[in-house]
């Protein structure tokens, strides 16, 4: 009996040990990114964990480098890039909401021919290699004058945000019992009032969570603005590459920019934790 208790105890210690080890692996790069972002350039190459922290990198990223000598690129475009990310990500989510909420409702509540095919076509965008769409789009965009415009990027971001919203919201609509709508229908309310006054409030938490998750995915996207955008709509993901591909590598600047560029997603993700699993699995896991 005693030896079994001992084995279990050893097992628990081993399990905790493994878990801690895994989380060190998962969290260390993030901690290290924060550390590097607080290092001055002198200490960047000479110290590891013990150094005098400074906010110079953040200041340089946000307000420009006061000590930028001639010949050194002062990267002041970060605030602009950040703003671009905000604009295209929220724009994409707004368009997806306007377009996707009714579609999700139709897919959840009505039976019509080709319904499942339609739903899976939307889903297939999520899994299709992006270049299949954006290589030809890069031609069409130049012809239509959409290259390097907010509208163009927001339009193509629908590939990211729309399938997510439609599929997650559809699963939320399906969770609501049709009895409620039937009762309202018997009372003579038209379908759009039932939708707006009864259904929407019921799915609101899920709707908000799905919208925020879609925002995160849009924010994190890289290949669309890389191919279809240039200086006008440059997002933080594309511009972050510039910090280490330039002749002199600004590792600490890049780290500071990364920290700021990652904060929105981390905060949003933490605020929707309860709904995250359903969102990440496109409604397949109710979590």
């Amino acid at each position: 009996m005693e030896s079994r208790a001992l084995t279990r105890r050893a097992g628990a210690i081993f399990s905790d040990g493994f878990l801690v080890l895994y989380f060190l692996f998962a969290l260390f790069p993030i901690i290290w990114m924060v550390l590097i972002s607080l290092k001055s350039t002198d200490q960047l190459f000479t110290t590891q964990f013990v150094f005098t922290p400074t906010l110079d990198n953040y200041q340089a990223i946000l307000f420009g480098d006061p000590r930028a000598a001639a010949g050194v690129v002062a990267r002041q475009e970060f605030p602009r890039n950040f703003l671009n990310s905000v604009i295209v990500s929220s724009g994409a989510v707004v368009v997806s909401l306007l377009v996707g909420v009714p579609a999700a409702y139709a897919l959840a509540r009505y039976n019509f021919r080709g319904k499942e095919n339609l739903a899976f076509t939307f889903l297939s965008f999520r899994f299709a290699p992006e270049l299949v769409v954006i290589i030809p789009l890069s031609v069409a965009y130049r012809r239509l004058g959409l290259y390097d415009t907010y509208f163009g990027i927001i339009w193509v971001y629908q590939l990211v945000t729309l399938p997510l919203l439609i599929w997650v919201l559809r699963s939320y609509f399906e969770d609501i019992s049709p009895d409620i709508e039937q009762a309202a229908m018997i009372d003579g309310y038209p379908w759009w009032q039932i939708f707006g006054r009864i259904l929407l409030p019921l799915v609101r938490p899920g709707l908000a969570a799905a919208a925020l998750l879609a925002f995160v995915f849009a924010w994190n996207n890289f290949i669309f603005p890389l191919v279809l955008g240039a200086s006008n709509v440059q997002t933080v993901t594309v511009s972050s590459l510039g910090y280490i591909s330039s002749a002199q590598a600004f590792f600490n600047r890049m780290a500071a920019a990364s920290v700021i560029a990652s904060l929105p997603q981390i905060i949003l993700a933490l605020s929707i934790q309860r709904y995250l699993i359903r969102g990440l699995s496109f409604g397949a896991v109710k979590g």
Binding site: M33, F45, F127, V139, A140, W219, N220, L280
Partner: protein, 313 residues
């Protein structure tokens, strides 16, 4: 109105079911219309992609989009000496990272399922690697692997391991990018699987415990079959995503060193966008699309089956 809608079956009134007026039949289509318009806006470039792949279109040669070359672009792709390596890298990357994420995620999920305080705190932080932009996460790893400011080699030296050149040399390039993928997406696998584990009914597990079943017996005969639908969801998402992974490889090496990491996606980007030979790069993206489409159909069918089996039907 109220009396007219008195007899209701489902969401459609009885009268509507017998003789649905066009107005009612068209309603779902009308509601979904805006989404359909966006759909067309996305499908249209897809079909032009197929068309362009049969032309000699190059961005720097105006008018070349109407030169029909038949299957020459596909022929060129299949006979390219780098095609084999590209195929190998595309699939090796996807299989290795999906495999490791699935197994590591399963172990982490089972350890997190123990309702200890440590497990609860740690589960919250799981989302960090997953929520940071893949490009930015990769750049952080690139810095960690870097010889002058990097931290990985010094850390390995303290436990007596020789320094590595990570993504800078062909031998360890695939390992380096797969490592970043594993870091970034194991939390996804763990979160999905932990949700699965928590959804299980407790009775069969208690019965097994009362009968004195071993851990492995319970795992093989109860946990694994019930978890299969969740495992497949992880495989669907991770396998499809890593087949077309662009961000991590591009941020790490842009496909290098040399052609080491030129997956289909990277080759399509380099050929069509960087070298402006638009039509020549498209076959890579289209073949990848077909591969992903076929495997997704297969996996979704398998998922449905596993779900029914797990539900005991």
């Amino acid at each position: 109105m109220a009396t007219e809608h008195a007899s209701v079956t489902g969401l459609v009134t009885h009268e509507e079911q017998l003789q649905p007026p066009l107005r009612v039949r068209a309603r779902p289509v009308l509601i979904a219309l805006p989404a359909l318009i966006v759909l067309i806006g996305i499908l249209y470039p897809f079909f032009t992609a197929v068309y362009y792949s049969f032309t000699g279109y190059a961005l720097n040669r105006p008018g070349s989009d109407s030169i029909f070359v038949g299957l020459r672009n596909y022929e060129r792709m299949f006979t390219d000496p780098d095609f084999l390596n590209g195929t190998y890298i595309t699939f090796a990357y996807a299989l290795v990272s999906t495999g490791v994420e699935l197994s590591l995620g399963l172990v982490v999920a089972m350890l997190l399922n123990r309702e200890t305080r440590l497990a609860k705190i740690l589960q919250t932080t799981l989302i960090f690697p997953m929520m940071i932009a893949p490009v930015i996460g990769t750049l952080v790893w690139k810095m960690m692997m870097q010889p002058s400011v990097g931290i990985l080699n010094p850390m390995m030296a303290t436990i007596g391991l020789p320094p590595l050149q990570w993504a800078a040399v062909p031998e360890t390039a695939l390992f380096s990018v797969a490592l970043v993928d594993v870091w970034m997406f194991t939390p996804f696998a763990a979160l999905i699987l932990v949700a699965g584990l928590r959804s299980f009914p407790q009775e069969p597990f208690e019965a097994a415990r009362v009968d004195g079943a071993s851990f492995w017996f319970t795992f093989r005969n109860l946990t694994l079959p019930m978890l299969t639908p969740y495992l497949i969801i992880v495989i669907v998402f991770r396998f499809m995503d890593s087949l077309k992974m662009f961000d991590i490889i591009f941020a790490m090496t842009e496909g290098g060193p040399g052609n080491t990491l030129m997956t289909y996606q990277l080759t399509a980007y380099r050929t069509s966008i960087q070298f402006q030979k638009l039509a020549q790069g498209l076959p890579y993206a289209l073949v990848l699309y077909v591969v992903i489409y076929i495997s997704s159909q297969y996996l979704i069918k398998f998922w449905g089956k596993a779900q029914r089996r797990a539900a005991g039907l």
